[in-house]
Structures are given as C-alpha cells and as structure tokens.
C-alpha cells in the first residue's frame, strides 16, 4: 500500500510538471488557433536564466518575477517573428515550421551561452523528503503542485475579471467580431504568446530543482506536455491539469506494476483513444468549423 501511495505521489508530481508546461499551449491556441512548438525551449530558457540569477546569489523568490518578465519578452519575440507573418498571409501551417525553427535557434543559443551540461538548480526548500500517509514526498514536489495550480488560477482570474482578460476571451470566441468591436486582436494574440512563454519560463524555474536544468532539457518535456495538452483538451485549463495527472500516474504505475520498459506506452494509448473518440480532448469544447 505504501508503494502504491508513493507511486501516486510521484505520478501527480510528474503530471503537474507536464501540466504546467502544457498550460502554455492552451493559452495561444485559444486566441489564435496556433501553438508555440518552442514551448519546451521557453521552459528551458526560463530555467537557465533562473539558474544564472541563482548562481549570482539572487533569492529564489526574487528570481521568479524576473524570469516572468523575461518570458513576456521572449514570447513577444516568438509571436512577432514566427507567428504574425504566418497569420497575416493566412498560412495554415507556416507557424508550425517557424515556431519549431525558433525553438531550435533558442536551444542552440542556450548551448552557446550556458554550455551543454546538465546543472543542479538549488530549490528554495529542503531536499529531505516528508513522510505523509506512509510514503515520502519532496517539499519541492508539493511546491510544484501548489505553484502550478496557483499559476493556472491566476491566469483564469485574469481572463475572467480584468478588462484585458475579457479582450482575450472575446478574441478567443470570435476574432473577427471582436476586431469589429474595437479590440486590437493582433495585440491580444501577441499578448497571449507573451503570457504563454511567461507560464513556460515560470514552469522552468518551478520544476528545475526536480528535473535539473540544461540546454537540451526542453525537447522531451515539451513533447510529453504536448501529449498532455491533446488528452486534456487544448481549450480547457482544467483539462490540462487532469490530463497531466492521468499521464503522470499512468507512467509511474505502469513502470512499477508492468515494466519500466513500457512506461510510456499507456500514455500513448490514452492519447490515441482520446483522439479517436473525442478529438477535442477530454475536457475540450467541440468546435464546429463552418465553411
């Protein structure tokens, strides 16, 4: 029983790591129906900038706002150079290539600046595990769960309560109509990219004490997060959390009870089942495309 609880804890922590990255996919998809495939790289940049500050002796809690500002800038750059030209010429797929390309550029840039190693990122809490209900959990894992939920809540509240957030939701619902109502929709799209990179960079600093920081860390995590976004539904913030936890727990449980060699298989099977039964994701709204 202890082992089962331990696996559930680790699965939830792992799932929240995936979920907090996947959240960024959902933000840009809502406003512009485009995705930033460089999400994993934004996460990595956040972690590396955070690590640099941490090595300079900056306090962990102070690093977070600085990295968030960095994320805003980085996301705006991606949108301006990668996505805006594609949207302007109404290219269906141009943004896929350009966001992947920008991701590669960011990764190479990071390798040149920070080297190619994998580094330890000292978290703000103790490394010793706590014992809860007979199983161990790291304080940092609890912090990741709290941080991820807090971040998602803040973005949701911002979208629902503030006038700027309402502009985002309006653009998400009907871009042309909100353009006619005087909302600067291209600015809203830029903003959604900035916000998505902000969440990614924040996630980078949040999870780096658990995952280690390195220039190549973005790739595989970004891909797992993408699967989470598909399973949970690209239009639902809540779905992302659930999707992340489903995948995280399925990984640890399969790893222990079946074989560690097959631990990635159930998540892919879940992905295929969701795509064939409910392509918009478990919690996604089904959209009807009128032609």
């Amino acid at each position: 029983m202890d082992i089962f609880i331990q696996l559930i804890y680790s699965g939830i922590a792992l799932g929240m790591i995936y979920g907090v990255i996947a959240f960024g996919y959902q933000l840009t998809f809502a406003t512009s129906s485009t995705l930033n495939f460089g999400q994993g790289e934004a996460l990595m940049l956040g972690a590396m900038v955070g690590l640099t500050l941490s090595n300079l002796g900056v306090n962990y809690w102070l690093i977070i706002p600085i990295v968030c500002i960095f994320g805003l800038v980085q996301g705006s750059v991606v949108e301006y150079f990668g996505v805006r030209p594609a949207i302007k010429i109404k290219s269906e797929f141009g943004w896929i290539m350009s966001t992947i390309a920008l991701g590669v550029i960011f990764r190479n840039l990071a390798e040149n600046i920070w080297g190619r190693g994998t580094y330890r990122f000292q978290g703000p809490v103790a490394d010793e595990p706590l014992k809860i209900f007979g199983a161990n959990i790291l304080p940092m894992e609890i912090l990741v769960v709290i941080g991820a939920v807090a971040m998602m809540l803040m973005v949701e509240i911002f979208n629902r309560k503030s006038i700027y957030g309402k502009a985002v939701i309006a653009t998400a619902n009907d871009r042309d109509a909100s353009g006619l109502m005087g909302i600067n929709t291209s600015l809203v799209i830029t903003f959604s990219y900035a916000l998505s990179s902000l969440t990614a960079c924040f996630a980078g600093v949040l999870i780096a004490p658990l995952t280690l920081a390195g220039a190549s860390a973005g790739g595989s995590l970004g891909l797992k997060a993408f699967a989470v976004a598909i399973v949970g539904g690209l239009s639902s913030g809540f779905g992302i959390i659930v999707g992340g936890i489903i995948l995280g727990i399925s990984e640890t449980l399969t790893g222990f009870y079946i074989s560690t060699g097959y631990k990635d298989v159930p998540s892919l099977i879940i992905l295929l089942i969701v795509l064939s039964i409910k392509p918009s994701g478990l919690f996604g709204k089904t959209t009807i495309k009128k032609v």
Binding site: L7, R116, N136
Partner: protein
C-alpha cells in the same frame, strides 16, 4: 552566354586544380575527431577533445610526424547515431582524413565505423565501451581497422560484478540501465558476469535518456529486496536515480560503469551521489607516474577547468593517449596510407608512454583492445571528486 560558360569552366578548372594540388602536396596530416560536444554526454566528449588537442599540440611543438604537422578536423556528433554516419562520410570523402580518433557513445561508434572499415582508414576508438565495437563488428573481415583505448564493457562488467559480489559480499543486485545501445549492451554484459558468479539480479529496470523521475524503477528494486544497485547509464539519469533513492528514503550502495565518474552525475546528484563506485582507467588524484603528473599539469594550464577538476579525466587521458599511439604508428609506417598505419598499430615496435599506462605492443592483428583488466582500478565519489577506493 558562351562567354559565361567559358568563365564558369575556367573557374571550375581553377577550383579543381587547387583541390588536386591540395591533396597531392598536403602539408599536414589530417586526423578526424568525433564526439558529442553538446548534450548529456558532452562532459566526456569535451574532455576527450581537449586531451586530443593537447597531445596534437605537444606533438606539433616537437616537430610533428614525418616532418608534417597534425591537423585536427573536429566534428560534434551530438551523441546521435545518424550525425555520426554523416560525419564519417564527410570526413572520409571531403576532408580526406588519414585516421580517426574519438567516439564516446557506443551507438554512434557502431553506426559509423563501417564507413572507415570500408575506406581502409584506421580508427582509434578512445572512449565508447560496447564490447561489440572491437569484438563483434567486422569479425569476419580479414583486416580490421577499429582499435580501442578504453576499457570495454566485457572488462568493466566483471569488475563491477566482482567488486559488488566478491569484495563487498552483496547477494541481491538490481540492475538499472538506460534504453540506449550503451545501457542495453552493458546490461547484457553485466548479467553474464553475474551469472558467472551464480547470481541472478533481483530486478532489471529500464529508463529513457531525459527521464526526470525514477521512482518506479527505484521502488521496484527496493521491493525486490535489492542490497546494491548496479548501473549502466550516463550522468544526468544516474543523478536522477540517486535523487529518487533519496526521495523514497532508501539508501543502498550504487556501483556501476565508469560513467558514474561523469561531472554531471557528481554535480547534479550532490550529496545523494556520494559513495558511488566505478571502474576507472585514470583517476585525476592518482598522479603516480611522471607522465600522469605532467599530463594533469599541462591540461590544467591549457584548459583551466573549474575548481581544477578535469570533467572526465578518463576521457581526457584516453583521448590523449590515442593521438600518441596514432602518431607512433604513422612514424613507424613512414606513410599516411591507412593499411600501413593499421599494420604498424598491430605491431608497434617501440613502447609508447601514455597517461593510462605505457603501451608495450598494445595491439596485435587479433586483439585491438589496448586496455586489459590490470589497467583498471576502482574509483569512488568523495567530496564531489573521484578518488581511488581506499585512498585517504
């Protein structure tokens, strides 16, 4: 139009002319260097490259080989098999290299070497350890062009098993290996070595490169009652194993292949990584020969690594030695012809003083491995450095 074509053909003539002249009157001896200089294995790749650079610089300063300077053609394979293949073809066909040193990742070695074998260009594989590199691949070929200056898994695995079972008296080992060629081939060698001692591992667990959570693997080993963990993987994931063990509050010794000495394992695992034990051909603190002393001093002066610690001393030493062995062979052959260099390597007349050891007839036509069991000692991670087991 005609004029343009004339111009073009003239330009082409000039171009080809210089290319032919370039190869016919080569003033340097081109040696290819391949390794991962980026990514998770880069601490080994960069240390190896720096060792190679240091050796080439020293040889050139002493007048070069056959009156020519050594020119290194370095390429980053990013630890990717397909990049290794591209590099092999580029270096053979375009750069026209004389010989090749390098290779960190066993998968890249096994994917790339056949091109050199076909082109009759000798390779001194100086870091990757899969037994198959010198033992299985091209086993049927009459002349084999792949040599090695690293301790193959067939040596390392029995040493690991012997230390864990024979010296320490553990009875229930669990094996944790990554899913790459390196991990899986090492796992097979390790199982064979344990079987020879009449021991079956209580658990065999896999993980992928880039995995961030090892709870499931560690818990399986724990619930199987393992009293020691044997590893075959690279730095970042080894660190995740150590960290996950600390998380679930379970501590048994970790003994594994030499990658437990990688800087990114030692640094990333921090205090969780202390006490890990691995076989090593060279330990930085063991400066017990004159050559080792001068090598460490020259390396630290040339590259000035952080805290005076070579990131991967084993890779640096083996890389350094591989260039000296190659230079000795070219000198003895009196030629840069691939087949003549191979024959010279298989029958080196004068001993070569290296960092790992003094190479006295290191290779023969049937044995292309320079390192034997007695050249390898056990190292342990202590205060973020690797020292010899039992060293004060």
């Amino acid at each position: 139009m005609l004029k343009n074509i004339n111009k073009l053909s003239f330009a082409l003539c000039v171009l080809f002319g210089t290319m032919i002249a370039g190869t016919a009157f080569a003033q340097t001896i081109k040696i290819g260097v391949d390794g991962p200089f980026t990514g998770g294995s880069s601490s080994m790749g960069v240390s190896m490259r720096d060792g190679v650079r240091l050796a080439a610089k020293e040889i050139n300063a002493a007048g070069g080989v056959l009156g020519k300077k050594i020119e290194l053609v370095e390429r980053d394979d990013e630890a990717k098999n397909e990049r290794g293949v591209e590099i092999a073809q580029e270096l053979i066909n375009r750069e026209k290299i004389v010989a090749m040193v390098g290779y960190i990742n066993s998968g890249v070695s096994l994917a790339s070497h056949r091109f050199f074998q076909e082109a009759k260009i000798p390779v001194i594989n100086n870091v990757s350890t899969a037994t198959a590199i010198t033992k299985v691949q091209f086993a049927d070929a009459k002349d084999k062009f792949i040599f090695r200056t690293s301790a193959r898994d067939e040596i390392q695995a029995p040493m690991i098993a012997n230390y864990a079972i024979g010296v320490k008296g553990f009875k229930k080992p669990a094996i944790l290996a990554d899913s790459t060629n390196y991990g899986q081939l090492g796992l097979a060698d390790l199982k064979k070595a344990l079987a020879a001692k009449g021991i079956t591992p209580v658990a065999e667990e896999k993980f992928n490169v880039g995995d961030v959570d090892m709870t499931a693997q560690v818990l399986k080993a724990k619930s199987a009652g393992a009293d020691v963990i044997l590893t075959y993987a690279i730095g970042p994931e080894l660190a995740q194993i150590a960290n996950s063990m600390a998380k679930v509050g379970w501590k048994v010794p970790m003994i594994g292949s030499w990658t437990l000495s990688m800087a990114n394992y030692i640094d990333s695992a921090g205090k969780n990584g202390e006490g890990a034990i691995m076989p090593e051909t060279f330990i930085q603190s063991q400066q017990n020969t004159a050559k080792r002393k001068t090598f460490v001093a020259a390396y630290l002066k040339e590259f000035n690594p952080k805290n005076g610690r070579i990131d991967s001393p084993v890779s640096a030493a083996q890389g350094y030695d591989s260039v000296y062995l190659l230079a000795a062979a070219i000198k003895q052959a009196g030629s840069t012809d691939g087949d003549k260099i191979r024959l010279a390597l298989e029958d080196l007349k004068t001993p070569v003083v290296g960092v790992v050891k003094t190479y006295n007839k290191p290779f023969s036509s049937t044995d292309h491995d320079a390192i034997t069991v007695k050249d390898v000692t056990m190292g342990i991670v202590k205060d973020a450095k690797v020292v010899a087991v039992g060293e004060k």
